[in-house]
């Protein structure tokens, strides 16, 4: 699980795996139509299981933000 690997790598990262059928309000809030759906820092949304390099390209977008 890539997100959990990132959490282990960095003390600044927390990674939640969420079983969305038990928390339908989060499914609505984050527009979860298919799984897995990854939400990074509330702003970046990734659909599907993507390779590490792809995820990191998206992840890099949070670096510049405050």
């Amino acid at each position: 699980m890539l997100a959990h690997q990132l959490a282990i790598e960095s003390d600044l990262i927390t990674a939640d795996m969420v079983e969305v059928t038990e928390f339908p309000y989060l499914g609505q809030k984050y527009d979860v139509m298919g799984v897995p759906r990854t939400v990074i820092d509330e702003t970046i949304h990734i659909e599907g299981a993507v390779p590490e390099s792809w995820l990191m390209k998206e992840f890099a977008k949070v670096l510049g933000k405050k």
Binding site: H4, I13, T14, A15, E19, F23, M56
Partner: protein, 141 residues
């Protein structure tokens, strides 16, 4: 009646055989109005019993709200997987189906404290200067 049958217990025991460092599974549950809280507790306790390096601790989301807050737990059922430190690995909802495999893999990774990520990824992550939360939404299938 156990949730894990003998065949699965055997498989999990084998998967956890090379876990050499202690891992604590902190289970957050709630007495009422929580779908799968009871099953999550039972399931995680059964897993914890399959390795002498694992221990399970149960907390009530309401009564132990300070503990829950200290681990950033904002809903239940939840499992925080803690190794020699808290790496920030959390599971929300019952870890069944696909997520059961994630639970077992998380235990192995947290015990080792090793992410297994590529040098490129590590370099990117090292540039972080503020806390980031990643949420991955999944279903049990």
């Amino acid at each position: 009646m156990p949730l894990l049958n003998e065949a699965l217990r055997k498989e999990v025991r084998a998967a956890l055989a090379d876990v050499k460092q202690p891992v604590t599974l902190k289970i957050f549950t709630q007495a009422f109005e929580c779908q799968y809280c009871k099953e999550t507790r039972e399931l995680v306790e059964e897993v914890a019993a399959l390795s002498d390096k694992l221990s399970a601790e149960v907390y009530d989301f309401v009564k132990d709200s300070q503990v829950a807050a200290s681990y950033g737990i904002d809903k239940v059922p939840a499992v925080a997987i803690i190794g020699k430190k808290d790496y920030g690995v959390r599971l929300y909802g019952i870890p069944a189906g696909y997520e059961f495999g994630v639970l077992i893999e998380d235990i192995r990774m947290v015990a080792q404290g090793e992410s297994g990520l590529t040098p490129e990824t590590r370099a990117t992550v090292a540039k972080l200067t503020r806390p980031i939360r990643i949420q991955v939404f999944s279903t049990p299938t």
